[in-house]
Symmetry: C2
Subunit: 364 residues, 2 copies
């Protein structure tokens, strides 16, 4: 088993990575989140695959267990679904020493985590991420929340889980589109944090995507979790350093919003957003032509939707303005000064950089 | 000015108490919650009295200010109102370095605090409590949240303000029913924390209620805030000691719920709840007959509604069971072992103590 520790004082917790960990969940709960009562929150697809495995394991250990299932997809990260889940927790009588388990991808982790953070002012919470994106990114670090019609993740909390359980075998049932979307976040850690890791992913991209070497996959997951933990330990609530994790996300979020969250998956939009950031980094001469080409040629291998034909710059820009990262004093954009090293630039007006990039993309 | 400090590491903040502090709000914001953009959340009554004073003060200091007004009363602590306020924060473009100010009583503090805690995963928050209950209790300590049709305060966060500004002059416009309700929480500090303070309140109850000595009122407010701060400093998230602040609240909450939140004000229900707890403490022989008589005779002076005729024990008990303080292992009830000293009792079944007390009350 690989163990990544996230040190945050009394809010510290471990991330455990091991094949077939789902069946052994109760052993690990005992040490980190002991309880007699649990609510599992999952979606339709994941609960069909793993709901029975996890709830049986809990029930066999004598834990009173409910399984709440929400529809697949980003639309479940809504005020309405959140309200329904809180009502069901009350109805089932979940008590203060009860546990909420998120079993699913990033949507489920964010949603179930926000329910856990706000139900009775906070109950214990365990992340069991089943998508690549959730395993390398959203299940670690305590960002939980929901979307608003006017923007993503505008409502939420910082709320750390007691434990993150990653079973890489769940990736075998993940559809390939989700794998590619998650791989976008994997590449992100190479770009912002470690050039050697970027090169490893570059060298074995297809081996990893097709899960031909589960040991290498587990190493990749552990590296990403360690990188994210390093950042979060230094800046839990995104006062500074943590912003680098938003690399690719400013334009990524805007792309998702401008296409009504139905065209791109989050990780896919982030791949385009990272391309934008690398392109701007090149325009600003922060990175060399060959570095930009290296990044672009890796990202071009991603099997993701291209930018839609009807995308207009103004729409993207208005979405960026509403993005929560905008403080009163302009927008902080995460760029690169090398592969493996970020540079934060304060931009007063994003318009020129968005328009010029769209023109560049149309010409390709 | 009286200053009470609440020490919680990086979440520490001061409580400032001074007549006419409302007009000087911006001086104190500068030091503790500097901002260029603020949203004031208030209710109809309070905003009519003080909305203009506070928003003008902010605007004159160059702070972009919005005033969001919700209807008076407990019904505003709802999922729907919370959602509307979050939407208005998004629409007005409140940014991460913006500030939310709660201007009002306990309902406004709880509601605005929960909005601040969840908007963009948390923005700075300042409490300006204008009711006695909010000044001595709910504005201090970071409990924020809303009600659910199935129970009070079932949804929320622990989220500390950056500053609490108490202007005792706002009590001059508070109606007497609210004064009496708040005085219930004042007496609570005497009962659970300090016998000498209990006696002071006993001796000068009517002087305090009728605001005949504003210096004594300010002393009383400072004592209560200091007592609450002492408790919260030792146990921010109610793992143990903080439970004593729930003295009178188990039956109090149940009384509010059983009467659909429209018959009793919170503080009024707590007065009855404290009477219940004192009565049980006497039945269990934890306190003497004369101590019980002393408590009862003080509480009898409170100008609050009597228990309604149609109150049935079963209804109260079912409400208690849903109360969030119930852990999987029974209910922890806060009783007294002396005036000024609590004793926590784990009760498996509240039914006998509720039924017997109701019979006692009917006989009186």
């Amino acid at each position: 088993m690989k163990i990544v520790g996230l040190e945050l004082g009394e809010r510290s917790y471990p991330i455990l990575i091991q094949n077939n960990l789902l069946t052994k969940i109760t052993i690990h709960l005992k040490g980190h989140a002991p309880t007699e009562q649990a609510v599992i929150i999952s979606d339709q697809s994941v609960s069909q695959l793993y709901g029975e495995t996890v709830s049986s394991a809990l029930k066999n250990a004598g834990i009173q267990t409910d399984l709440f299932i929400v529809p697949d997809g980003e639309d479940s990260k809504s005020w309405k679904t959140m309200g329904n889940l809180l009502t069901r927790c009350i109805q089932t009588g979940l008590k203060r020493d009860g546990l909420i388990i998120a079993l699913g991808g990033g949507v489920i982790g964010d949603l179930a985590g926000f329910v856990a953070a706000t139900y009775l002012r906070g109950v214990n919470f365990v992340q069991v991420p089943t998508s690549l994106l959730a395993q390398v990114d959203s299940s670690v670090g305590g960002k939980v929340g929901i979307n608003h019609p006017m923007g993503k993740n505008l409502i939420g909390n910082f709320y750390q889980p007691k434990l993150v359980l990653i079973d890489p075998m769940t990736l075998t049932t993940l559809d390939k589109r989700e794998m590619w979307a998650g791989m976008g976040e994997v590449v992100k850690y190479g770009l912002i944090w470690d050039e050697a890791f970027f090169k490893q992913v570059e060298d074995s991209l297809h081996t990893l995507i097709h899960l031909k070497d589960m040991e290498a996959v587990a190493d990749m997951l552990a590296f990403c979790c360690r990188a994210k933990a390093d950042v979060v330990e230094k800046d839990e609530k995104e006062g500074g350093l943590r912003r680098i994790l938003n690399f690719g996300h400013t334009v990524g979020h805007a792309l998702e919003a401008a296409t009504d969250y139905h065209y791109f998956k989050h990780g896919e939009a982030v791949v385009h957003g990272m391309h934008w950031a690398a392109w701007v980094s090149r325009q600003e001469q922060f990175i060399s032509e060959s570095e930009f080409n290296q990044i672009e040629s890796l990202l071009k291998q991603f099997a993701i939707p291209v930018l839609p034909d009807n995308l207009v710059a103004e729409n993207l820009i208005s979405r960026i303005k509403i993005d929560k990262k905008q403080t009163g004093k302009g927008l902080h954009v995460v760029l690169l000064e090398a592969i493996g090293k970020t540079k934060i630039l304060k931009v007063e007006d994003m318009t020129p950089w968005v328009k010029a990039w769209l023109i560049y993309m149309q010409k390709k």
